[in-house]
């Protein structure tokens, strides 16, 4: 190996051109598609104005992939598809073929190699997730493990299209919520103020920046044992963890106080209703590796209540809007508490100011 004395200068090439990577039928019919159908769960069939057709087989993956898994996907694409794949934002691998006869052998091979085919239409999608203990510097829980354990339990719902509409589940390993909005979101919820290591604050943290980061102005500079540090007004603290990333000595996590919360009704699409944020429905759930059974039980309870009671095309938020929150809490056996009532700014807009009630 030759050692350069001067580091190589980067080629600032930016976002790569996808056309050399794209399946030829997609490239030739770019912007010319006419309609599509789903012949079976996990398969899309698109027809272009030119008459061209393409079939897509969507397979679930573990997202965090070893090179052997990626090479296996490549072998399948080379041998049974046409040598091209694309990934969805939810980490599914899509194989495109130009002939319907290639679909069945492709599905058979993918499933025999352990890649479930599904995730289309009104299925439960692959859970979108974050980094967790595997790679994040501020995680309250793991991400890949939560997803793996939950996808094992709702595996059949990924492979079938039997929900009222699509279900997008997300997980996040701290309250920053990198996992984003979901029909069901499983997110870390801290329950105690940070524990401060006053020996380290002055050297590690830019104190004014940490003070400024707090959403409720609960942090102030202080001298502790003669050392410049920070202190938290624990009566004001909302335990959000925002101070922890800029100041790791303000440890927000602990094996006991870091809990999970479940939120429902987040939606990115504009179809029918406008995009909505997910809403808190359950908290205080133990952070219980390796399979998080308590969180999984609540997710399944919500999921199957929706499956049972939702009407075709209703997303989670639309189902709840129709049946009302009293019925939601009844059908899911979840407790309704004072913590469900928002008190953040703009909160009054979330209160019922009408005589329209559900009984």
């Amino acid at each position: 190996m030759s050692e350069a004395t001067q580091p190589r200068r980067a080629i600032e090439s930016g976002v790569p051109d996808p056309f050399p990577q794209m399946h030829p039928v997609m490239k030739e019919n770019y912007g010319k598609w006419k309609w599509h159908e789903r012949p079976r769960p996990g398969v899309l069939h698109h027809v272009a104005h030119t008459g061209a057709e393409i079939w897509t087989v969507r397979a679930g993956t573990q997202r965090q992939m070893d090179i052997h898994t990626i090479r296996k996907l490549c072998d399948i694409a080379d041998n049974l598809a046409d040598g091209h794949v694309r990934f969805t934002v939810r980490s599914n691998c899509e194989f495109m073929v130009d002939d319907e006869s290639k679909v069945a052998p492709l599905i058979e091979k993918l499933e025999s190699e352990g890649f479930p085919v599904g995730g289309t239409g009104n299925s439960v999608k692959m859970i979108s997730h974050t980094q967790g203990w595997l790679h994040c510097d501020i995680p309250g829980t793991d991400a890949s493990g939560v997803v793996k354990s939950l996808m094992d339990e709702i595996y059949e719902d990924f492979k079938k299209e039997e929900m009222p509409n699509r279900v997008q589940i997300t997980t996040s390993c701290c309250q920053i919520n990198c996992g984003g909005q979901g029909d069901i979101a499983i997110n870390v919820q801290y329950t105690k103020p940070p524990k401060i290591n006053h020996d380290l604050v002055a050297n590690v943290c830019e104190r004014p920046a940490v003070v400024a980061r707090c959403p409720v102005a609960a942090i102030r500079p202080a001298l502790v044992d003669g050392k410049p540090s920070l202190e938290v007004d624990e009566k004001k603290c909302i335990c959000c963890g925002a101070c922890y990333p800029p100041c790791p000595p303000m440890q927000i996590n602990s094996d006991e106080s870091t809990k999970l919360a479940i939120w429902v009704g987040g939606k990115h699409s504009n179809a029918r209703s406008k995009p909505t944020f997910h809403k808190l429905v359950a908290a205080g759930i133990p952070n219980n590796p390796p399979r998080w059974p308590e969180a999984a039980a609540i997710v399944k309870k919500i999921l199957y209540a929706y499956k049972e009671d939702g009407r075709p095309w209703e997303r989670m938020n639309e189902w709840i809007e129709r049946i009302g929150w009293p019925r939601f809490f009844e059908l899911t056996d979840l407790a309704f508490t004072r913590h469900h009532i928002d008190d953040w700014r703009g909160a009054r807009r979330s209160l019922n100011a009408s005589a329209q009630l559900h009984f």
């Binding site: 976002v15 996808p18 990577q21 912007g31 965090q64 070893d66 510097d137 909005q181």
Partner: protein, 423 residues
């Protein structure tokens, strides 16, 4: 001597069950004795098991970058390196995928070969911000891995991290979707590649994200998850193939069509005629996509296509969640001039953000702090009723220049009518 693997009884439980197991993948890498990453992955599994036992994370950040760039590497140093020395440095390279996440197997194989030589063998496809995440390089190997990935024959470049322009996501769009109303690849590449300096040399107040979705289904989650969301739409009447509508009604029945399509239109813009054709009140339609999603063969977007731009979406820190707000209700993307206008608007907004946002403030928070009307003045966009759900309900506003403001509206209207008459 071959390094021993740590016992991982908790992680082992994640090898059972039908969903593909990331733990089995990590173990395959740890078992690759003789490969440069095998020992690193043995200790990585050990540290992860330790996290599962203690319910705590053990990574801390730091400063690692490649020559000439200030961002794109997520440094990770282990806090328990004493027990897991081979994975004491486990940095991630965020690398931008081809727009739309298309890959030939040739490119994927080359990525694997590079990461086999310089990294851990672990690649996430993809991270939440849309990057290929090459996870697990030593500090020394970060530059080597980047040099290989960035070589002209591979053609990959670093993505964004920190207070900078971030890697973008565009939906599959024009490549394989009939709903797509603009050229997502061109938008994605022309904007991002115009501002690479803001990505690779972080100097913004905080992160800034663009996302691109070809229609209002917003498969790239742009409205909530980006500062600058570009959503495809159309202005004229939607396309209706009445013969296909009749065929759909014939297949599915009137009740299903009325319950699941007509009655679910959010603005009551649809009606099923007695002869099973569809009556569309296009002036009331808000382009939500529901009926088009349901009747893919009969209905499609109109011909006068373009984009809507929303700005300011973000998650809670620190003022609470924000969806993006409509800033440009409609913009054409036909001519080169149209495309230049889009890039110019992006530049204006980035410049305004760079100069006026507070430290660690997203542009949505800036808009919240200064008010939408002031933001519009700053970026040179005129007010439009499509930007609001409803006009103000509070009377606490000073209106002594009302006539001047109203005159602007009527002048713009007259100018628009004159321009349309001239066409």
């Amino acid at each position: 001597m071959t390094k021993k693997k740590h016992d991982t009884p908790l992680l082992d439980e994640l090898e059972s069950g039908p969903w593909p197991s990331f733990v089995s993948g990590l173990k395959r890498l740890a078992d690759d004795d003789g490969k440069p990453y095998a020992d690193m992955m043995k200790d990585l599994l050990g540290q992860l098991e330790h996290s599962y036992e203690t319910r705590l994370g053990y990574w801390k950040g730091g400063t690692v970058s490649v020559f000439g760039y200030g961002g794109g590497v997520i440094p990770r140093f282990s806090e328990v390196a004493k027990d897991y020395p081979a994975s004491k440095e486990f940095h991630t390279l965020r690398v931008m995928p081809p727009a739309g996440m298309h890959y030939s197997t040739d490119l994927l194989r080359k990525m694997c070969d590079i990461w086999e030589e310089h990294g851990s063998g672990l690649i996430a496809l993809h991270g939440q911000s849309g990057d290929i995440m090459f996870q697990g390089a030593t500090t020394e190997n970060v530059q080597k891995a980047f040099d290989a990935l960035n070589a002209p024959e591979i053609g990959l470049d670093m993505g964004g991290a920190g207070p900078a322009l971030r890697t973008s996501i565009s939906c599959v769009g024009h490549a394989r979707c009939e709903h797509s109303c603009f050229d997502e690849v061109r938008a994605h590449r022309s904007i991002l590649n115009e501002f690479l300096g803001e990505m690779h040399r972080p100097a913004l107040p905080y992160k800034f994200k663009f996302k691109f979705s070809g229609c209002a289904n917003d498969c790239s989650n742009a409205i909530h998850r980006s500062d600058f969301a570009v959503i495809g739409t159309w202005r004229d009447d939607m396309n209706v193939d009445q013969e296909e509508v009749k065929a759909y009604v014939g297949r599915n029945g009137r009740k299903q069509v009325i319950d699941e399509i007509i009655a679910m239109c959010p603005t009551r813009a649809l009606s099923l005629n007695d002869d099973d054709t569809l009556d569309v009140d296009n002036k009331s339609c808000v382009r939500c996509m529901h009926c088009i999603n349901a009747m893919t063969k009969a209905l499609s977007p109109g011909e006068d296509r373009g984009i809507t731009i929303l700005m300011g979406g973000k998650r809670s820190l620190k003022i609470g969640d924000q969806m993006g707000t409509v800033i440009v209700p409609f913009m054409k993307l036909d001519t080169d001039e149209d495309w230049e206008k889009l890039t110019e608007l992006a530049e204006t907004v980035i410049d305004f953000f760079a100069e006026n946002a507070l430290e660690h403030e997203r542009v949505g928070e800036t808009i919240d702090r200064i008010g939408l009307a002031n933001f519009l003045d700053a970026v040179g966009v005129e007010v439009d009723p499509n930007m609001i759900n409803h006009p103000r309900t509070s009377s606490y506003v000073r209106t002594d220049d009302w006539d001047d403001q109203a005159r602007k509206w009527f002048d713009r209207k007259a100018a628009k009518e004159a321009a349309e008459a001239a066409e």
